[in-house]
C-alpha cells in the first residue's frame, strides 16, 4: 500500500488521525495532515482505507 496526501486539499478535520493514529498526524500550527508512514504494514490497511473514504476533503489517496 502506498499513501499520498494532498496538503492543499486537507481541511484539517483530523478524522484520519482518529481512525489511524499510527499513520496520520496533524501539524500543530494549522491542523494540516502529516503522513507518518506512507507504506504502512498490513495491520493498518483497513483503517487507512476507511480514512481515505471518510476524509471530508478527499485529501488521502491510496494505491494498492
Amino acid at each position: 500500500m502506498q499513501i499520498t496526501i494532498d496538503e492543499a486539499k486537507c481541511c484539517g478535520a483530523g478524522q484520519c488521525v482518529l481512525v489511524a493514529p499510527e499513520v496520520f498526524d496533524q501539524r500543530d500550527e494549522d491542523g494540516i495532515v502529516v503522513l507518518l508512514d506512507a507504506t504502512p504494514d498490513a495491520g493498518q490497511h483497513a483503517a487507512v482505507r476507511e480514512a481515505a473514504t471518510i476524509c471530508p476533503a478527499a485529501a488521502i489517496q491510496v494505491r494498492e
Partner: protein, 424 residues
C-alpha cells in the same frame, strides 16, 4: 426477488456525490462483488461541495480540483456509473428503481441506498431572474464566480448561515461591496448561539461587510428580468447587482413519493426517515444530507447537512445494507452513532465543530483573542456537554475538547475540561 433472472445481483446508489460515492466505495471495499449502479443527475463525475463557496468561488481552484476521485480510481471500483440520469421512482416492495432516461429503465435491485442530498430553497419572484443565484452545484459556483470576475459589484447575500457567511467572506476578499441580510443580529447564530454569532458578525463588519440584521427579506426587486436588489420586511430595498440566496435547503425526496412508499410507510416529512441502522425499509438505506436517522447515543433523530457525515453515513449505510443482505458473510448490522463534525473557512478563520451545537440550552464561550478571533466554546443540553466549537485552536487541543463530548460529559465536568484545555 428475481435475482435468478439477473446474472449479478445489483445494489443501486442514488445520488453521485459525497455520500453516494462513499457508499459505492464502501460496498466494493467491504467485498460486494455484484453490480453497483451509481446514479447521479448531474453531468459531472462525483465532486466535492465545500470548496465551491471557498476556493472555487474565489477563483483559486479550477473546477477539476473538486473531483472526489480521479478517473482511474473510479474505474477501479468497477461501477455501473450513470451520470446525467435521474432516478424518478422507487417501489420498495418490488425493489424496483425507475430511471428517468429515454427508455425509463427499470432496475431490479437487491438493495438501494438513497443519497440524493438537498436542494436549495429559493424566494418567490426569483426564478428566471438574471443575477439571482443559489450555491449548491459546481455550475452555480461558476455562474456566481463569472459575475464576481468583474470588479466592484454589489452583492446581497440573503441568509446569515454558514453558506452565506462563507460566500460573503470570499466576495469581500475579492473587493466587492457585500451586504449580508439575515433575520438575526448574528452570523451563524442559529447554530453557534448568540454570543459566538455576535463575535462572527463583528468579524464580518471589520472586514467591511454591511450587515442588515433583524430584517426578513420579502422579495427580489428586478427590472427587465435583471435583479436590482432585495426588498426587506420594513419596505427598504438593499440595492444589488447580484443576489445570492443562502436560505437553507429541502431534502431531495420527492422522487421517492408514491403508492409504493406509502405501502411500506416511508416517512418523507423531513428527509428520508431511517432507523439507527440508516434503514428506511427492508433493503432501503439513506445517507448524507437527505437522511434523518435515529442516533441512539443521543436518543434523538438527526439530519445533518455536513460533509463529514455524508462520507461516514455513506460507509455505514453500505455496511449495514450488506449485513442485511448476507449476515453470514458481512456480519451484524451496527447502529450509526457518529460524533458529528463540521468546519467552515471565513477569511483567515477556521471554525471547527464537533458534536451537536444547534438547540443547546447552555453555552460557555472562552474568547482567547480578538484579532484574529480565537475561541473555544462548549454547548450543552439537559445537563450534559454535547458539542464544542473552536476557532484558531491547535488540533491537539480541539481533539481533547472533542473527548469531552464524544460521550457527553456532565456539564460541570466539561467546564473543568474546557478550562484545563484552554489554559494548558
Amino acid at each position: 426477488m428475481s435475482a435468478a433472472h439477473t446474472p449479478r445481483p445489483r445494489i443501486a446508489v442514488v445520488g453521485a456525490a459525497a455520500a453516494g460515492l462513499a457508499a459505492a466505495e464502501g460496498l466494493r471495499r467491504l467485498g460486494w462483488d455484484g453490480e453497483i449502479t451509481l446514479v447521479g443527475d448531474e453531468p459531472h463525475p462525483p465532486y466535492d461541495r465545500p470548496p465551491l463557496s471557498k476556493h472555487v468561488l474565489s477563483g483559486s481552484w479550477e473546477p477539476e480540483r473538486t473531483a472526489l476521485r480521479d478517473a482511474g480510481q473510479l474505474t477501479e471500483l468497477g461501477l455501473d456509473l450513470r451520470l446525467g440520469t435521474r432516478a424518478v421512482a422507487y417501489d420498495p416492495e418490488r425493489r424496483a428503481l425507475t430511471l428517468g432516461d429515454a427508455g425509463r429503465t427499470v432496475l431490479r435491485c437487491a438493495g438501494v441506498i438513497v443519497a440524493t442530498g438537498v436542494l436549495p430553497r429559493t424566494l418567490p419572484g426569483g426564478d428566471g431572474v438574471e443575477g439571482v443565484h443559489v450555491l449548491r452545484t459546481l455550475d452555480d459556483a461558476l455562474a456566481l464566480r463569472r459575475r464576481l470576475a468583474t470588479p466592484g459589484r454589489r452583492l446581497a447575500v440573503v441568509g446569515g448561515g454558514v453558506l452565506g457567511a462563507e460566500a460573503a467572506a470570499v466576495a469581500r476578499a475579492l473587493g466587492h461591496q457585500v451586504t449580508l441580510v439575515g433575520t438575526e443580529d448574528t452570523v451563524m447564530g442559529r447554530v453557534l448561539g448568540p454570543e459566538v454569532g455576535r463575535l462572527l458578525a463583528d468579524v464580518h463588519r471589520a472586514q467591511g461587510v454591511t450587515l442588515r440584521s433583524g430584517q426578513a427579506v420579502t422579495g427580489i426587486r428586478a427590472e427587465a428580468g435583471r435583479a436590482t436588489g432585495v426588498v426587506l420586511a420594513n419596505g427598504t430595498v438593499v440595492e444589488a447587482d447580484d443576489v445570492l440566496l443562502a436560505i437553507g435547503s429541502v431534502p431531495a425526496v420527492d422522487w421517492l413519493r408514491g403508492p409504493g412508499a406509502e405501502a411500506v410507510g416511508l416517512d418523507l416529512s423531513d428527509g428520508l426517515r431511517c432507523d439507527e441502522f440508516c434503514a428506511a425499509a427492508p433493503g432501503l438505506y439513506g445517507a448524507g444530507d437527505v437522511a434523518r436517522w435515529y442516533h441512539p447515543g443521543l436518543g434523538r433523530e438527526l439530519r445533518i447537512e455536513h460533509r463529514m457525515n455524508a462520507s461516514e453515513q455513506g460507509l455505514a449505510a453500505a455496511r449495514n445494507l450488506l449485513a442485511e443482505l448476507d449476515p453470514e458473510r458481512f456480519g451484524e448490522r451496527r447502529p450509526f452513532t457518529p460524533v458529528p463534525y463540521f468546519w467552515s473557512d471565513q477569511y483567515d478563520l477556521k471554525l471547527q465543530a464537533h458534536g451537536v451545537l444547534a438547540g443547546a440550552d447552555r453555552t460557555e464561550v472562552r474568547v482567547l483573542g480578538k484579532d484574529p478571533l480565537r475561541l473555544a466554546a462548549l454547548y450543552g443540553t439537559a445537563g450534559r456537554a454535547t458539542g464544542i466549537l473552536t476557532i484558531g485552536l491547535p488540533p491537539r487541543r480541539t481533539r481533547s475538547l472533542r473527548a469531552l463530548i464524544a460521550t457527553p460529559a456532565p456539564w460541570p465536568e466539561a467546564i473543568t475540561g474546557l478550562t484545563e484545555t484552554v489554559e494548558a
